[in-house]
Amino acid sequence: MGTTASQLGKDMLSEYQELTFLTKQEILLAHKRFTELLTKDEKDLPNTRVPMDRILTLPELKSNPFRKRICDVFSTSEYKDGGLTFEDFLDLLSAFSDSATLEIKSHYAFRIFDFDDDGTLDCGDLEKLVNCLTGETDDTRLTPEEMRQLINNILEESDIDKDGTVNLSEFQHVISRSPDFVSSFKIVL
């Protein structure tokens, strides 16, 4: 708390270092990039919340199909508008950093993929997820028949307890056996 937007105190810096996976340089860089997003009069206010559409102009997020979900998940806004404060932004970078653990990464990945925020990945979530991956337009989308087959496949493989949805532990089970998840679930400024 109490960060003026223009500079970052030394004790704040060490606190952020303790609470996130980021190094000092990374935090400073993140601060610089974040203040660039602020308008002139916002710079003097502490704890400004940058709206989602301005966050999405960052090149690191611009071409990511899950950019809106990422903002939603990391936002602590009470209005659920996906706006990020500097600390939310640090949270985001920490989860996507090199040194974050598989546990953390898979947890956030699960929440990003859980489009309706109900705690499990059901058929609707999976369909949205696949559409994000293949592209949203009509000619890039899979046909309904293919989609049905695909979702059946996913559930057959990873829905271990056969309740028709993929829950967090099942998701983490799948993720833990993928060698390159940690290296690909990464956003570095």
Binding site: E18, T20, G164, I175, F181
Partner: protein, 714 residues
């Protein structure tokens, strides 16, 4: 009992893949109110998604509050020593968690120390991984061409590392001792002059023949103890190289095998990986993102296509099946005929190249290179024919690639084998005695190696690049349309790599610097292939499966290594046979063969052989060691060895089976408990509805009592 039955029923249902009923049924179940209150769901529920619901309600409800208190203490109690940043909550939450923790000073100091240590360690690891060459190039290639093409380049890098390791070993075991303890003869100044010409670098004759490149250079030096002399070091070096390669390659193969095949279809997570780990969050470039999307789409489509193909395959009628098998039979006959023809061609070329007498230098150069040219030509042409043939056989796409690969590797290794065989045969009947037969053999391998590289070079710059230019300049011309767009054919390029590595292993005994040459050419190949991929090729529409095929790559490499070891063993054994005169043949010819085969150069010159030198060493050892070694080498040792292997194998197999059973049992338990949960939740909601009680205070208390009463009812 009744409950147990329903569980099995559910399990059956889901196994019969009637997912629609299960999922529609469960749709109801996880949308019920009590589902949200289950501890397992709440543990994974994000904190802020609860906040609004709290805000929307008309004031805090006592029951809800208690649930909250229980919740926020949940993760903290679970792992009080867990670092704060490992908790899945926002920074504000972490701060309050820290307040609650009230760490002792020493503990916090220790923690900050461990954080620092970890940070330093992470930096070291990062710096080390930055040292791995070509990381950036690999990433760029993967971004544009997918995992399959990247697998090729990773394989190439692995071979470069392997060859550099070989170089280090050769420097230590062979080159070093020869330089320090070299005999007076080899210290003659190596001069480039006289009859030497640049051509010698391509033929491996003349100047190179006298240089350290070949076997003949390494004579027995002044280091002449019984168990420590240059011949023995030479032998140790070569054997170490072969053994080390064997271990490394087998390790890579088994690791990949375990990942792909051992786990089997039952536990395969292919599809889920592709969906859950499919997106690369590091992508920033919009073009790369579009490419990645198309890759994922194509990959999914390919997978679904393969799946429906296998379903179609299962539905074939008997008549169709018979027709297909007949077709496959004839196509296999055709493949065999093609292979036979190719082998005859190689035989013919080798024969022609051996009887060269006094031609113009250009003609003699062509004749010298006739066998490598023929082999390369055959190897260039036939795999493409095999690819066409396998497309008629109605296999799935991956199976097509694998069939082509297996046929081509057979062709490659067999043609190399035939070539080696003829070299053996012709060197035996050399009309005039040559100074150093081993050098002759090494020279052939040297030529093959150089020629391979030249082919790759020419292929890239004189074939692919002009084609690409043609396509760019005149996209509508007939020729350009005939050629079509170029794709990077991973299997064939991998075949080339395996082949050249095999040549290097076969030749290393006779041409010790071959690994160095191989490493240099491989590095050059990397840049050439990078050029041809990034500049000349377009991304394939159909993806090549990376992970399962890398097992096949390494398996082929293993075949090559075995072939190299067999060649070396055969060669040494043949020398030994003629050397001791174990088979007294009809005087004249045998005598001639003896005199020409007995090497007069290299570390094992002057009537020494590999078996002699080791024998002398063994004789000098103390008695018990000697008898142990003799026992180890005798056939009496084979029986206990085999028995021990069988025992170890059996124990591993049974352990694997037991684990598999345990996995099955655990899965069954999971299914059972989850269907229990589902059943209870449903029962609970129906009861709630019956009571028509909208009270929101109850669930927390009912949650505790409900299971008990329900089980009583049952």
């Amino acid at each position: 009992m009744e409950e147990h039955k329903t569980v099995n029923f559910m399990r059956l249902l889901s196994d019969d893949s009637t997912h629609s009923t299960v999922s529609s049924d469960s749709c109801e179940y996880y949308q019920t109110e009590i589902f949200d209150l289950l501890p397992s769901i709440q543990a994974s529920r994000p904190e802020q998604s609860r906040k609004p619901s709290e805000a929307y309600q008309d004031g805090p409800v006592p029951g809800e509050e208690s649930v909250h208190g229980h919740l926020s203490s949940g993760p903290r109690d679970k792992a009080p020593t867990q670092p704060l940043r490992n908790m899945v909550i926002c920074i504000q939450g972490k701060r309050s968690a820290r307040e609650r923790r009230k760490m002792q000073i020493s503990e916090s100091w220790r923690r900050s120390q461990s954080i620092n240590r970890k940070r330093v360690w992470a930096q070291i690891v990062g710096a080390l991984s930055g040292l791995l060459p070509w990381q950036h190039t690999l990433h760029a290639i993967e971004g544009r061409f997918g995992v399959g093409v990247k697998a090729y380049f990773v394989f190439l890098r692995y071979l470069v590392h392997l060859n550099l390791l070989h170089c280090a070993l050769i420097c230590g075991f062979i080159l070093g001792p020869t330089i320090f303890y070299g005999s007076s003869k080899s210290s003659e100044p190596l001069k480039f002059g006289g009859n030497d010409s640049v051509l010698d670098f391509f033929l491996g004759s003349g100047y190179l023949d006298r240089s350290p490149v070949f076997y003949g250079f390494y004579t027995r030096g002044s280091l002449n103890l019984q168990c420590l002399n240059t011949p023995l070091l030479y032998l140790t070096g070569i054997l170490t190289i072969l053994f080390l390669s064997l271990i490394l390659v087998v390790r890579r193969t088994t690791v990949g095998y375990k990942h792909t095949w051992m786990l089997g279809k039952r536990y395969s997570m292919n599809m889920s990986y592709k969906i859950f780990c499919g997106w690369d969050f590091t992508i920033q470039d919009p073009a790369a993102a579009a490419l990645k999307r198309s890759f994922i789409r194509n990959d999914l489509k390919l997978f679904l296509e393969e799946q429906s193909f296998s379903r179609r395959e299962a539905q074939r009628t008997l008549g169709q099946r018979v027709r297909l098998y007949l077709l496959r039979f004839f196509l296999n006959l055709l493949v065999l005929a093609l292979l036979g023809g190719a082998f005859y061609l190689i035989y013919f070329a080798t024969k022609t190249s051996q009887d060269e007498i006094g031609h113009h230098w250009l003609v003699s150069l062509v004749l010298e290179y006739l066998p490598p040219i023929t082999i390369s030509f055959v190897n260039l042409l036939l795999p493409h024919i095999f690819r066409k043939i396998s497309s008629f056989e109605d296999y799935s796409f991956t199976m097509q690639v694998n069939a082509t690969l297996v046929r081509s590797i057979f062709l490659k290794l067999a043609s190399l084998g035939i070539y080696l065989f003829f070299i053996f045969k012709t060197t035996k009947h050399q009309p005039h005695p040559v100074q150093c037969l081993e050098n002759l053999f090494g020279r052939e391998m040297y030529k093959l190696c150089i020629f391979n590289f030249l082919t790759a070079f020419c292929n890239a710059f004189f074939l692919n690049y002009p084609r690409k230019l043609l396509h760019e300049k005149y996209p509508s011309s007939f020729l350009a349309r005939l050629c079509g767009k170029q794709h990077f054919l991973v299997p064939f390029n991998v075949l080339d790599l395996v082949y050249s590595q095999t040549v290097s292993w076969v030749g290393v005994f006779y041409c010790p610097l071959l690994p160095l040459i191989e490493a240099v050419t491989l590095m050059a190949t990397f840049y050439i292939q990078k050029f041809s991929v990034l500049r000349c090729c377009v991304a394939e529409q159909r993806m090549f499966r990376g992970s399962s095929s890398s097992v096949l790559f390494h398996f082929m490499l293993l075949l090559g290594l075995l072939m190299a070891a067999a060649t070396l063993g055969f060669n040494l054994y043949r020398q030994e046979g003629t050397h001791t005169g174990a088979f007294p043949g009809p005087g004249n010819i045998r005598g001639l063969a003896n005199s020409s085969l007995r090497s007069s150069c290299g570390p094992f010159g002057n009537g020494l052989s590999v078996f002699n030198v080791t024998g002398v060493c063994v004789d000098s050892l103390p008695g018990p060691a000697q008898s142990t070694l003799r026992y180890l080498a005798s056939s009496a040792f084979a029986l206990p060895l085999i028995l021990a292997e069988i025992l170890i194998l059996t124990s591993y197999v049974s352990r694997g089976r037991a684990n598999q059973k345990a996995i099955e049992r655990l899965k069954d338990m999971l299914v059972m408990s989850s269907s229990d949960k589902r059943f209870l939740v449903k029962q609970h909601t129906t009861m709630l509805r019956r009571q028509r009680n909208p009270c929101r205070v109850r669930p927390a208390t009912i949650e505790e009592n409900q299971p008990l009463t329900l089980s009583h009812e049952n």
